[in-house]
Symmetry: C2
Subunit: 501 residues, 2 copies
């Protein structure tokens, strides 16, 4: 039943037109990546714009992808000692002002509530750009001794940041779905372990569930979260060679615990300021799935998170409609019982070819065609969305075959993305080459960096590229990238530069 609603809320594809060309993706992915992206979002039935700038509505099919991602991450966070809570979306100005640097970082993007009904409020309320300030103003009530630590809480909510630049569904929106996790620790070491544990959980989610390879490491001081000691990040490469930040995990040190007076009595009964972390991923991951895996025909979803994993198309004529549909539904029931999310497209008003096209746009990982001959032979025809490969398998080995195909798809998607990442990543030691590469927007550049923010700023101004990540693995520093790409002084770090979303 769920799938029925998901399937019937995509008017663009199902009702107004029957011409294959019009309902398909008409913008060429290689010519106009951005236009192609917008078409995939619209025609796969993921989201709609509303009239206010930068805001989108998630349609059931788009939200179901978010639910899949959320449920997998939520389970993992609970297993590792985190609990969820709820925070209001409005934050009094005075609370936001407590940590000045932090607030300044968000100020230009903050939406302000000034009135309720016709009355002006005594104090302006900010729509949360993030919840550190609000939550940390409460933490002193929750924490008094080491026995209350570690405290690990998480919030599935939205953040609101007025977007002035051009907006893009899932990538740059004035309100976006995310999770924000916050922890408090009795020691610096424990906070550091937490930061890395979360990064590892994110890496596992993004690489093994979403099939997107990542590069992990630190943000530069310029790019770190405002108020953090340091920020760790996961960067991914989109199909056009641009970078997308996929998740971040921040070590806040005691930068918030001091202004917000988050203290605890240690085992020796002395009062100390606590150590904190915060971290988040957002629906950007859906944007990344599109920009990494989707093709000219539409979305391609990794099987683990696909709202519909298997679409069954009964192929029938007037004389065998009943028996073919019965078999299709009995196959559906069998697959549902095996735990798969399956939908049978029984609609008479569309041809099989039209249906193929629609479910391709929606990125359903495998399609099963079932017709008279399949019933007679006790076989089914399986078509992979990612490769279009067809294979006929006996019904008797259903579970083994589906599991194997899903595993292969998950893996192939990752391998293809990793291949692109490698192809479009260059080691560069000459700034002229750097500029040339960046002008062609050719992907990631690995190079040496002196550590001076001035070089970073100049490079950004001259090429549009910034430091995406200072990778944890710094092996090139001792090999061949010993000098700063910009000033030629001794390199302190290996950096990965790219243009980014």
């Amino acid at each position: 039943m769920k799938d029925k609603t998901i399937a019937t809320t995509n008017k663009t594809n199902t009702t107004t037109t029957t011409n294959k060309k019009e309902t398909g993706i008409t913008v060429n992915k290689n010519d106009d990546f951005s236009g192609w992206f917008s078409q995939v979002v619209e025609k796969a039935g993921l989201a709609d714009h509303i009239s206010a700038k930068g805001f989108i509505i998630l349609k059931p099919y788009g939200y179901a992808i978010w639910e899949s991602i959320r449920d997998i991450l939520d389970k993992k966070l609970k297993e590792t000692g985190h609990s969820n809570g709820f925070l209001p979306c409005l934050i009094p100005e005075s609370i936001l002002n407590k940590e000045e640097d932090h607030f300044k970082g968000f100020n230009p993007e903050v939406f302000w509530v000034t009135h309720s009904g016709n009355s002006e409020l005594n104090e302006k309320l900010a729509l949360r750009p993030t919840s550190e300030a609000l939550l940390y103003s409460i933490f002193p009530k929750w924490i008094s001794s080491y026995r209350d630590l570690p405290l690990r809480v998480n919030f599935w909510n939205t953040a609101l940041r007025a977007e002035i630049k051009s907006t893009k569904p899932f990538i740059r929106n004035s309100e976006f779905l995310w999770q924000e996790g916050h922890t408090v620790h009795a020691s610096k070491d424990e906070a550091e372990d937490q930061v890395l544990m979360i990064l590892d959980i994110y890496k596992n989610l993004i690489e093994n569930i979403l099939s997107i390879p990542t590069i992990t490491g630190y943000k530069s001081n310029k790019e770190k979260f405002v108020g953090a000691d340091y920020t760790t990040t996961l960067e991914g490469m989109m199909h056009d060679g641009k970078a997308l930040q996929l998740g971040t995990s921040h070590n806040l040190g005691r930068n918030f615990s001091k202004p917000f007076e988050i203290k605890f009595l240690n085992r020796e009964n002395n009062e100390e300021f606590a150590w904190q972390t915060s971290w988040g991923i957002s629906w950007r991951l859906i944007g990344a799935i599109i920009m990494v895996h989707a093709d000219q025909q539409g979305l391609i979803l990794p099987p683990i998170i696909a709202p519909i994993q298997i679409i069954i198309i009964p192929i029938y004529k007037n004389n065998n409609e009943k028996i073919v549909k019965e078999n299709a539904n009995s196959l559906k029931n069998k697959l549902s019982q095996l735990g798969y999310r399956v939908f049978v497209d029984e609609r008479n008003e569309y041809t099989a070819g039209w249906k193929y096209n629609e479910w391709e746009i929606k990125g359903v990982p495998i399609r099963i065609n079932i017709g008279q001959r399949d019933i007679e032979n006790n076989t089914i025809e399986i078509v992979r969305r990612d490769t279009k490969q067809k294979q006929v398998i006996p019904l008797i080995q259903l579970k083994e075959n589906i599991e194997k195909i899903f595993g292969t798809i998950q893996n192939d998607l990752f391998v293809n993305a990793e291949k692109l990442l490698k192809e479009k990543t260059k080691k560069v030691s000459d700034y002229k080459e750097f500029k040339k590469t960046m002008n062609n927007a050719e992907g990631f550049i690995i190079c040496g960096w002196c550590g001076d923010e001035k070089c970073e700023v100049n490079i950004k101004e001259e090429t549009g590229a910034d430091i995406r990540v200072l990778p944890f693995v710094q092996k090139e520093l001792n090999e061949n990238l010993k000098n700063c790409i910009y000033c030629n002084n001794k390199a302190e770090k290996i950096a990965i530069f790219a243009r980014a979303y």
Copy 2:
């Protein structure tokens, strides 16, 4: 691990004080119901106030109750053909103005965003008091023919309504967690069936899962949802005799489809306006659980939705700590494998008695004490939270016994609440008696009503009571309540009046 965080974020109870009296509920439930309620919310670790009026934070233990309720309802909604989506929380003023009556109903409570950063917005944005207007401005994009119907979507989000009156956690807040469901249908009959199907789903949730009896029926025209043809409601009685509206399901007729132009082509290819419903429940249900089931010692949670269903307290001395704790944990593992949510309280810094007190406040349905003698006898001691009854059971019948006890608790909670509801519900045919009863705030009054809003308004002014529900079952109309309680004209309806939260 989840339970650990839930258990360690309740500083009030666990760290600052060890005096049983101070950590327990000190306000008498019968003397000061409202003060008692606030203490239960605070000391059970459910929620905290923030500085902005009417806003609360849900602590992990409070949010986990909401998660339980949400997951159960979400599953049921998906099984009955509903899918979830996401809506922004900001609504442009022009959209809100499209259905004037509807908007007027919410206007005094609307929070307005007027600025982002330091810039004034071109158009004011309202924080959603409810999402009809925003969503229905998009529906014409999603619907063109009968094939797109029924459309059934649901949103788990918050609604924002600036509370001017006195606020109360879970009952009256400026932002509250809820779900709002919206459906579109091709026929009036189908919309009516939908309204009643949802009411039935709610009734099942509230009565069978939360153990709270309800009275179902229609709201009067005065009390219905602004913009609806009619509103159906579930009313519950709190322990103090006041009513609480627990959920509503609205038939919107074509009141929104006309201004928002939600049309579809019917099977005869003629254009028609669609029929709509909307419906919701909120975290009020948590407030209801407290006000119906909790006692002088604190919360009492129905087992199905309790975040921790079983608390195990190892009873040990220095010489047997290890073996008792090992046995407690092995019991925990056994119960976890059976699917129960269990936590072992191993903390050495507190006495067993102190722990009993704490988990009683938190309303954990059953406590298992395990000591040396239990280990030797292969037994455990089970204590019910609701009745404090103790029983010793053999380990070998664990599953059967726990299931049976949980079933009994769920049922006993309902039976007790139903008993109170019956005791505090009176049939009244004389207005003097009506006033006397209401002045003593003695519960629900069943009486005849002529159907005139004037009588309804006068009664409200004179007694503080309003029509909570016009019950579906109207049997008293033909029995003995043939006249309006106020004007004495012929009664058109049987109404239930009460003071309400």
